[in-house]
């Protein structure tokens, strides 16, 4: 498949996903993911430095995604 067509297809896919899911629908499972990360951070016992680093990055990514979704909700 030519690169340009592939790129267009990808764009269309992203558009389709954003039309299929509302921000609210995304936020509920995302709060579950953050909830389990909270459990790992607070109740998961002693983590290695590497595990702690990855956990912090996962939490940051999750919170950034929640902020993004919240912004989208406000725009609607």
């Amino acid at each position: 498949m030519p690169k340009k067509v592939k790129k267009e297809n990808n764009k269309r896919q992203v558009r389709d996903i954003s039309l299929t899911f509302t921000p609210h629908e995304i936020r509920t499972p995302l709060t579950s993911v953050l909830g389990y990360l909270w459990l790992l951070e607070h109740k998961g016992g002693k983590l290695s430095l590497k595990q702690e680093k990855y956990l912090k990055k996962a939490l940051k990514g999750g919170r950034d995604l929640i902020d993004l979704v919240n912004r989208r909700i406000k725009e609607r």
Binding site: H24, T31, G35, L39
Partner: protein
């Protein structure tokens, strides 16, 4: 704050991912947790066990959360049992009905954090001042 450890909470939620999350979060502050995956199981457990608080999802298979709430409020033994209704953002109509039926508090799934869940549950258990719901 009044100590609320060892109180017994019934979590009624059909989504296993969310049910387990609420359970683990509440266990992490030394609360005892029991679980039900639908309204029928919840009513059965309420009939045979004593709980200090119920976390109740509004959207349940078999018997809805609001019907479970009605049964709780209609029973002499559980009419004062604290109930926290769990709903989605787009279920404000159910929330209104829940308020009319006498929920003690509510959680919006998309807005909840473990700290919020703990704070609400502990707040209600503390407010009971040791009274038994059943």
């Amino acid at each position: 704050m009044i100590p609320v450890t060892n109180k017994r909470i019934l979590i009624v939620e059909d989504n296993p991912l969310e049910r387990e999350l609420y359970g683990e979060v509440l266990k992490s502050v030394n609360l005892n947790v029991d679980e039900a995956a639908d309204g029928e199981e919840a009513l059965n457990k309420l009939l045979w066990n004593q709980y200090d608080l119920v976390l109740l999802d509004v959207n349940l298979p078999k018997i809805t959360g609001l019907d479970v709430l009605r049964e709780i409020r209609n029973s002499l033994e559980t009419k004062n049992l604290p109930v926290v209704l769990i709903s989605n953002l787009d279920e404000s109509v159910f929330l209104e009905e829940g308020r009319r039926l006498g929920i003690n508090d509510y959680l919006i799934k998309a807005d909840q954090t473990p700290d919020k869940v703990i704070s609400k549950v502990k707040g209600l258990l503390g407010a009971k001042k040791g009274k038994k719901g059943k």
